[in-house]
Symmetry: D2
Subunit: 292 residues, 4 copies
């Protein structure tokens, strides 16, 4: 008996300590989708709830979680260790089960590979996102598929992306959580780079054109009303070089009387900040799904 | 000018986003020391303060940070991402600069490799730690080297290890922070395993012999008085299978009127818990160094 | 114009700074109910949601929030400042709107006034609670009135009270949050006092008879199954003299495989602990109402 | 024996539960000082460390903690319940012992009573503070009295006051913690009120003249260097009407490369925010005293 108990203890240790390595692979699915819009394959990663495998009928809310410039689809799974936070919060009841989708909108150096969530010449990513990716993953991974159960979040370039998507598609998302967000380009104008026709210049111009700050400032009454139907959260570190455009965004929201949460925590523009942001982001999305 | 600003932005992004990869390697030093006691080379990893390289005269406090069963010297640097928390807390002033030493007391499967912080036949690790490792690293890495500036912490097997070390060497450590600690073996007795002469059996027996709970319960007045000179912190998740021996330890401390902090946070026996424990552990050690 | 703005600022300051005093009184209602069971009037206090006054059709979930020994009905409103936390959490979306009911189960010194949530000779408080108070307040204050929207919480004697109520009435409550709970009497036996027939002796005996720890330990399969339908939360300070019976309760729950959250935060048996506990308690109850 | 234990339990309950009322009065001292400068008595309240009474030789660091407009000297003790947080943090080691001084710079309605921390005609409060109050209390209450052990904090008008004091007296304070601070008057200009010669107009003009934001923006190299010797912390709620001038202050500090912490937590311009701010403020001051 004692022998058995000690053996159990050792096995438990082994499993507990090394669970990162031995985690069943099917919870994190990485695959590609061929995009007619982009005329290329695009990768995406999906984090599935624990019940997904055995509860074959259940449909889930969905959270789109966007990476930043230089990033790619499995950033959130690997560098953001989203599963560690997700499983803990679901176990303690602070988050509900959801499907988390982390698409690829870059793939590396923005001078070499086109980065960005907006439509630019030869890279109509936004069209791809809404017309191809979203319908496909929501069908494949048993997503409920209504606005009430669809939220979006992202970091840096993806923080601006998620905010802009939710601003212009208030009918599709119930909540948006922006981390260290590129809400606008600090340097406005023609945003020249070494190569004004290059991929980075295209990205820069698209960020300026889709400035989240300007969107709020220029929203008319009806647009403001629509923005009030979404739950907004802005989270940015006090040492982040993008802090100013985040506080400007928040100020614009307040001036327009659109409810929005703001948190400035200790930290900078890095994965430690984004990882810990998940402790707020997942409960926030869960509450939105549940119509608190 | 604009071109320059945008270029700066891109570089900043690149550096910020990918800082984990591009972090200057000299902050995390992994090396080996030949041990006469163990008759073998043992690896260790050291995390150095940012000022270490340019402030050649400065001496630092030291924190020994111990890994768990199945673990090894670079666990804390890689899986625990100690540098991410450390740099943030130093920047915000919540932690002081210190040298963090993470030695190797295992190297893998405890049936194959001897694991453990205590002296057992053919593995006098504790003797190695105090007689060889500690003097060597404290000299090599400009550690102040007095009790007031030496603390110890650890997870699981290392949580028990750090507590036991501080119990029996109250003259060497000013503070001990135990995470998810193996304070005792839940199953007492001869702790048989499949192979009672095997490495795991030796480890088990040593944990029982050095039970942190029994140590407190059997401490006489003079030993209790010595224990009161150390600052103690116990941190264990509510889903941790080792929770009971941690609350037993705390109860014994309270009965003996030895001040000790206890926290039970949400979480289990995993790296997410230990990573977040650093947010409490490093400030705790810092306060001890500063004689709060 | 400037004059106007400055005046606004001053008024804002005045209102903001002194809002505690000038808070509209109708949000906190204190009244009495005549109890046939107790043959006396009993006081109660109710905290109402902001929308209660103008949304005359809306029905709300309810949280019963119990005081401790020596306490009375308005303790939570005055010493616990529940409204300050409640309004903030509702505004930020972390709590849903609910009616909070704080009944009187004491009124002062337990040697003079009968204290306690259980039935004892001449004080069938539990019968009063379920047969008289609950139906009355749920009707009067537009409470939804189903199990899914009824939770219970409490501090110290009320922490034991809320746990025991939820244990024996799993059909009535969806969630229970115990703070610094008197889960059992540390000193078992006949619980004599100076006056074994006195009010305090009766209270002590009722706490032992309704021991939350024993209830879990002796629950049969069917009772365990019923207990699993309730969400449980145990929150106790590391300097609390009741910590041991809380960890014992948690251990019993874990042994019986009944999911339960445990938190041990820094603190003692005082209002600072209970006030800050509300930051966890109200979101916990809200999630239970919303079937996370 | 059992009788004794139960009696102890009851006494413990009584003391623990009602400790707010029965707290020994000598820890919170309220007294007056006659000011030659103001030609009147001014009240002040002092919070003393637990060891003050029995350790008659010990000298302490000091924290000046300033109230807001409409406030008075005992606001922090009564509405801010500073003792509850202070004692808990000292017990857990997160704060060191210190003397906390809360002077009176108002006394009520700013139209009736002169409010403010700056020199205005007939109310040279700043002169009173530095020439009379500070020397007096530091001598009377065994304060160490050097810059290294003197910090300042405050809320709203006192948040601007503490920041401005530390800006212009970098030789006197090692740290400043501003809560919901009136860093500037949102409405600039002559700041007229109904009565331009009235008390409120004088206060408004003095806030503009001592704008903390302008001070940083116009600081020359040498002044910037001096500002870098102080540790700064800005803490303001996301629902606070003064948020904008706090983020402006922070931006100015960053542009001038003066290290400063910023936190935006959930909350508004109220005592719940200031009470919880103490959990950051007291450790921050303690670390400054200890030269982290």
């Amino acid at each position: 008996m004692k022998q058995f108990v000690v053996t159990c203890l050792v096995v438990w240790f082994a499993v507990a300590t090394m669970h990162a390595q031995f985690r069943p692979p099917q919870r994190v699915v990485t695959d590609t989708i061929y995009s007619e819009v982009l005329q290329a394959k695009r990768a995406y990663t999906v984090i599935l709830p624990q019940s997904f495998e055995w509860n074959k009928e259940k449909q889930y809310p969905v959270l789109y979680l966007l990476h930043g410039m230089y990033g790619k689809n499995d950033d959130w799974a690997i560098q953001g260790r989203v599963l560690d936070v997700y499983d803990q919060l679901v176990l303690s009841g602070e988050s509900c089960e959801m499907v988390i989708v982390t698409p690829d909108a870059g793939g590396g150096n923005p001078e070499e590979f086109q980065n960005g969530y907006f439509n630019v010449p030869d890279w109509e990513y936004e069209r791809f996102f809404f017309d191809e990716l979203m319908p496909y993953v929501e069908k494949r991974f048993r997503v409920k598929g209504d606005r009430q159960h669809r939220a979006i979040a992202g970091l840096s370039m993806g923080g601006g992306g998620c905010t802009s998507y939710a601003q212009r598609h208030t009918d599709l998302f119930c909540a948006a959580y922006a981390m260290s967000a590129l809400m606008d380009l600090p340097q406005k104008g023609d945003a020249k780079t070494d190569n004004p026709d290059g991929k980075l210049a295209k990205l820069n111009r698209s960020v300026i054109e889709n400035s989240c700050v300007e969107y709020v400032k220029t929203a008319d009454k009806s647009r403001q009303e629509a923005l009030r139907t979404v739950k907004w959260f802005v989270d940015c570190g006090d040492d982040d070089f993008l802090l100013d455009c985040n506080t400007e965004f928040y100020r614009a929201m307040r001036n327009a009387h659109i409810p929005c949460q703001l948190r400035v925590r200790d930290g900078s523009h890095n994965w430690e900040y984004w990882h810990t942001a998940l402790y707020q982001c997942l409960p926030f999305a869960s509450r939105a799904f549940m119509s608190f």
